[in-house]
Amino acid sequence: MKYYDKLIFELSKEGRVGYSLGKNEWTSTTDEIPAGLRRSEAVGLPQVSEVDVVRHYTNLSQMNFGVDTGFYPLGSCTMKYNPKINEEIAGMKGFLGLHPLQPASTVQGALEVYYNMDKALSAITGMASFTFDPCAGAHGELTGLMIMRQYHILNGDLKRTKVIVPDSAHGTNPASAAVCGLEVVVVKSKADGLVDVNDLKPLLGDDIAGIMMTNPNTLGLFEKDIEEIAALIHGCGGLLYYDGANMNPLIGVARPGDMGFDILHLNLHKSFSTPHGGGGPGSGPVGVCGKLVPYLPVPKVVKDEYGQFKVRGRAGVGKSDVRKNADGCEKSAGEVSGFLGNFGVILRAYAYILTLGRENVKLVGKYATLGANYIKESLKEYYKLPIPTVCKHEFVYDGLVNDGSRKAADGTTEREGATTLDVAKRLLDFGFHAPTIYFPLLFHQAIMIEPTETESIETMDAFIDVMKEIALEAAEDPAILKSAPHNAPITRPDETTAARQPILKYQDEE
């Protein structure tokens, strides 16, 4: 990776273009639109040639690290390998050329993708049916909570406006609850990292809409009291929401639907191998148990009695408001996005599931869990392991055993020790992506590691060796870590100045 400093705007030369539209067979132009409706000056976009564009973005790409570049042990992010056949399928010209409002009879292939994916994800999770309208995991959470609220509202149960969220939860959980108009009630974890059932009990009542749980939780621990928790929540009239961010270790092993969960979302860009794209596009399909199927968002793909696929509840198609038609959408939680979600992402995940098949699906979770435990056991003499039990797909260290700090005789600090941030930055020098750091918030120096099932023992051993070496460096001289990374395209950015004096767009310095 080498440093490259240009912005595309800085390559601009008046009059240069990077496109060709061919012969113009028209004479009229937008200049015929009344002047009062037109912009006063040309838009300030760069003027560059095709080769300028290709070189610029190729140079930018070379300052990036992806799963294809190297090991990416980012906890709770499930950075598994992204199979290339999936890209080919998503890029098929036929699929790319479909308009989202084409009549159902003309898009039977595309609709079959949705229908079959609904069946496949239901089989894997033990749910009854899925919506694919949400475009990301947090969008799925919000959608799931909307379904939860709509269920209570239509039952006349208007008091249920509180949702219980464990203190170890991802930040999106409480944020999604707030967007959905729900009040967050926090349930504490016990010393062993699991939800404290005794802390949960007094929170229960007729104002509880439900609970959001991640299982295994963000410490990588299976919530083994899940059946008791499910009975308690259902007992008070609430619903159980499953945050699928950590579904990977359960794929092929256990199903949230069988644990009593009523609603869940999956991250196709985590558990189902679709690429993260530097922060999207993802896909956050939401599955529900049988009694909640009528509450799923619209539009929704269904199959009629003749085996034809249909889209139920498309907005703005046809004379009447389809939502009010008696086509089974009366209870729907509503529209949560423009069309039917991120079709291109769904295609990739479907190709992944077909490649796995019913045989190999049983290996996904187990191999992911084996890898995490292997790394966990290999480094516990070097990194503090607060919870030593068997983990699932990920686990958390709480900083270095010996951070290299030194105190003088009078008790003052003589040498600052290396922190988790320093370890993460030093890892970059060795060609590994950093783990998730400072999350979960239960530990001050959290290092959260998730290897995924697609990594070989050789890759994990190489990572383990480097982590040991970094720990030894820290004990010897923390300064090496504190000034890391040393061979990335840049050194550490000044984030404080970035936030205090924000520069958020390019400004021509002429």
């Binding site: 190729t58 599931i353 019913r358």
Partner: protein, 425 residues
Amino acid sequence: MLDRVGVKSLDDLYSDVPKDVIFKGEYDLPAAMSEQEVRDFFESLDSKDEKLKVFVGQGAYDHYTPSVVPYITSRSEFLTAYTPYQAEISQGTLRYIFEYQSMICALTGLDISNASMYDGPTAAAEAVKMAPTCTKRKSRVLVSSSLLPNVIKTIQTYSYYHGTELTLIPCKDGQTCLDSVKAELARNDVAGLIAPSVNRYGIVEDLTGFAEAVHGEGGIFIEYCDPSALAVLKTPAEWGADIAVGDGQSLGIPMSFGGPYVGFMACRNEYVRKLPGRIVGETTDTEGRRCFCLTLQAREQHIRREKATSNICSNESLMALFVTVYMSLMGPKGLKEVNDRSYAAAHYLHDELLKTGKFAEVFDKPFLKEFVLKPLMPVERLHIKLHDGGFFAALETEEGYVSFCATERRTKAEIDALVALVKEA
């Protein structure tokens, strides 16, 4: 590996999972397919879809995608990277997001853009959710009924659960009725108004007076726009808008049956701390070199949890790259040309359709690439004829009109063929 972990079998790794929730059956999935079988399978699915000439817009537009764009976005360094939390090895992602933000600002004329939203409708819903927080004392948001149907529906869903009160503003002559807006403002509880610059009928709305009226009552003005069209149309800043939202799909993203697209959101400086989602800023590294990082993160869910401005985490980063590369290739001249050709094709189509005598004009208003007509014949017959000719056109709207769209991809020969079919219908 099992030895080091201290277990005898893979099943022992799950000893903490209650026995009765371990799945013991067979998964109801197809048998594993080879790569060739996967390819064949999807080719057979694809063959069940009809490839039609698209003459419909309504939020998804058939603009041309230069081959460079997917070539760049398929580079694995971009495609397989995570969110750029580790700035030192994510400068590629961070730089293109900064360029994207800059281009959105150039199109809208506004000060700040975030790193992207899911799509246009969700961006609109988030903007409506922002309005009360930007204005503090107010609670109600006015929503123009000239917005695209799926935009209105998504706003309604978000607001219903979040607790934002909405009032739909009727149309007058096919565009947002200013008098109705003023009447609602008089009740002194309005946090904002959302209205489109190009509306569901394809009309380019004259938004004169809207910003003044809303600002006069302490509210904010949100404009829903087609970013491609902003290369020629008056900018949100020129109309006095505080926030601009819309869908970047029109910037060369394939229709792809509805996604992935990319929502955008831009605003004036004073609302930056209310913006949802990620923002990239410029700074320097310890050696003084220009570099970029995620910034103003105190707004976001991973820091603020339930007090965050939104729950959004992953957005549509790769699609932001997609439109950034598209805009770089096209430049101001190319985007203008795309609009000119779309305009010319749509107007030719419009005039030729009226000449057939099978439609009546609904609105006599300026339009860009999309318009509605009133059919003077059974719509079913028209649809069968057009479909048999290989066209997707004349989408029936809620009002009983039919909607048409023509982009720069549509040729005169295609339009003539479509019009000939209409004559026969």
